[in-house]
C-alpha cells in the first residue's frame, strides 16, 4: 500500500474491506435474521447492543471535540442529536430502549447495564478510546462501517418481522430511522476521508481504521455467540436468559 490511490480507488478499497469483514457475515447475525434465536438470546443481543448504542454519542462527542473547523462540527453534531434526541424527537438511544423493552427486558435494568457481558464493555470502550487517541482522519474513517449498514438493517428487520412474532412492530422503529440517518452521515464521512487521505500513509491508516471498526463489531457478536449460543458459556455475573 505504498502507491497513492485516487479518491475513487480509495473508496473501492474501503468498500472491499466491508464486503469481506462487516459483521453481516457473522454467524450470530445469520442466526438472528434467520429466525434461529430464542427470546432469551434476542434479549441478550438487545441488552449488550444497548451498551454500544449508549456510547455512540460519547464517541461522537469525542470526535467533535477534536474538530477545529466549525463547519465540520456543525455537521457532525447532528449525530449526537439523532442519538440523544430532544424535546420533540426521542432519539436513537430511547428507540433502542423501546426495542429492549419490546423483547421483554426491564428498562431500568438495561439502563443500569445489569448483566452486560464484560467483553461487550471492553470492546465498545476500545472504540471510544480509538477515536480519542488516533488521528481525526482515523476517527472519522472508523465510522465508515455505516456504508454497509443499510443491508444488514434491512435483513435484520425483515428477519425479525418474519420469525419473531413476540417483537412488536413498534419496537423496530429504531431501524427505520437508521435507514435514513446512516446514508446521510456516511456520505459526509466518506467525502471527508476521500479528501483528507492524501498520502499513501494516510490511506493505509484509513483502511486500518475500518478494519479496526469491523473487528469491534465482529468481536461484539463473538462475545454474544460464545455466551449464548449452544454450547453456551455465560461468563460469571452476566445476564442469564
Amino acid at each position: 500500500m505504498t502507491r497513492l490511490a485516487n479518491p475513487d480507488e480509495l473508496e473501492k478499497r474501503l468498500r472491499a474491506i466491508g464486503a469481506e469483514r462487516y459483521h453481516n457475515h457473522h454467524a450470530f447475525h445469520k442466526l438472528l435474521h434467520g429466525g434461529a434465536l430464542n427470546k432469551g438470546q434476542i434479549q441478550a443481543w438487545a441488552l449488550n447492543r444497548y451498551y454500544y448504542q449508549s456510547r455512540i454519542p460519547i464517541k461522537d462527542a469525542a470526535i467533535l471535540a477534536r474538530m477545529s473547523e466549525r463547519e465540520l462540527r456543525r455537521v457532525w453534531r447532528q449525530r449526537i442529536l439523532d442519538h440523544d434526541g430532544d424535546d420533540k424527537h426521542e432519539g436513537g438511544i430511547e428507540r433502542w430502549l423501546r426495542l429492549a423493552v419490546g423483547v421483554g427486558l426491564d428498562r431500568d435494568d438495561v439502563i443500569a447495564l445489569k448483566g452486560v457481558l464484560p467483553a461487550t464493555i471492553f470492546v465498545v470502550d476500545a472504540y471510544v478510546n480509538f477515536v480519542r487517541e488516533r488521528s481525526l482522519l482515523e476517527a472519522v474513517a472508523s465510522s465508515l462501517t455505516e456504508l454497509f449498514s443499510p443491508t444488514i438493517i434491512s435483513e435484520r428487520v425483515a428477519g425479525m418481522r418474519k420469525h419473531y412474532p413476540f417483537i412488536a412492530e413498534e419496537a423496530l422503529v429504531y431501524f427505520e430511522h437508521r435507514l435514513s440517518e446512516a446514508p446521510r452521515d456516511v456520505d459526509f464521512a466518506l467525502a471527508y476521508v476521500k479528501r483528507e487521505a492524501d498520502t499513501p500513509e494516510k490511506q493505509a491508516a484509513t483502511a486500518q481504521a475500518l478494519y479496526f471498526k469491523c473487528d469491534v463489531l465482529w468481536a461484539q457478536l463473538d462475545a454474544l455467540h460464545h455466551a449464548y449460543v449452544e454450547p453456551a458459556h455465560v461468563p460469571p455475573g452476566a445476564f442469564v436468559p
Copy 2:
C-alpha cells in the same frame, strides 16, 4: 457493602471473589492443564497471552506514574524490572517468548502480534486504561488476582509437563519465576489495599476492581475458547492453527 470491614475481613472478601471468579474455573484452563488441547490451540493461547504479557510493564508504569510516594515507587518498579529484564536477567517477557517459540511459534511473528485476536487487544487495553483512569487504590487492587496465581501456575505447569511432550522443559521457566515473584508482589499490594481502603466506599471500589480484573482474565480465555475450541470460530484475520 455499607459497613466498614476491618482489614482482615476485607482480605477475606477479596479472597472470596477470587475463589468464585478467578480464571482457574474457566473451561479453557481446564482443557489446557487437563491435556485436552492440541498444539495449534496451545500456540493460539501462547500467542494471545503474549499480548497480555507485553502490556504488563506498561500497566505497571502507568501505576508508577500515579504514585506520589517514593517508597511506593521503589517497591512497584521491581515489577517492571522483573518483566522487562536487564543485562543479567532476561525478564518475564523474554521468558514468555521462549515459551511461545517452545510451542512452535515464530518469535518475530509473536512480537509483531501477527494474528492476535482483536478481542485480546480490546480486553488487555481495557486493563491498561483502567489503571490509568481509576484511583490508585483501584489500580493496585486490580493486581490482586496474583493472590490466586500460584495455584493456577502449578496446575498449568504440571499439566503441560504431563500432557504435552512437545513443550521443552526450558520453555516453562517463565512460570518458575512467577512462583517466587507473584507472592512477593501481592504481599505488598494486599497490605497497601488493606491499609488504604479505609471507608466502605473505598472497600467496595476495591472489590469492584478485583471483579473487573477477574473479568479481564476470563474474557481473554472466552475469546480463545470461542475462536479455537470446537466448534471453532476464528475471526477474520486471526491466527489459524
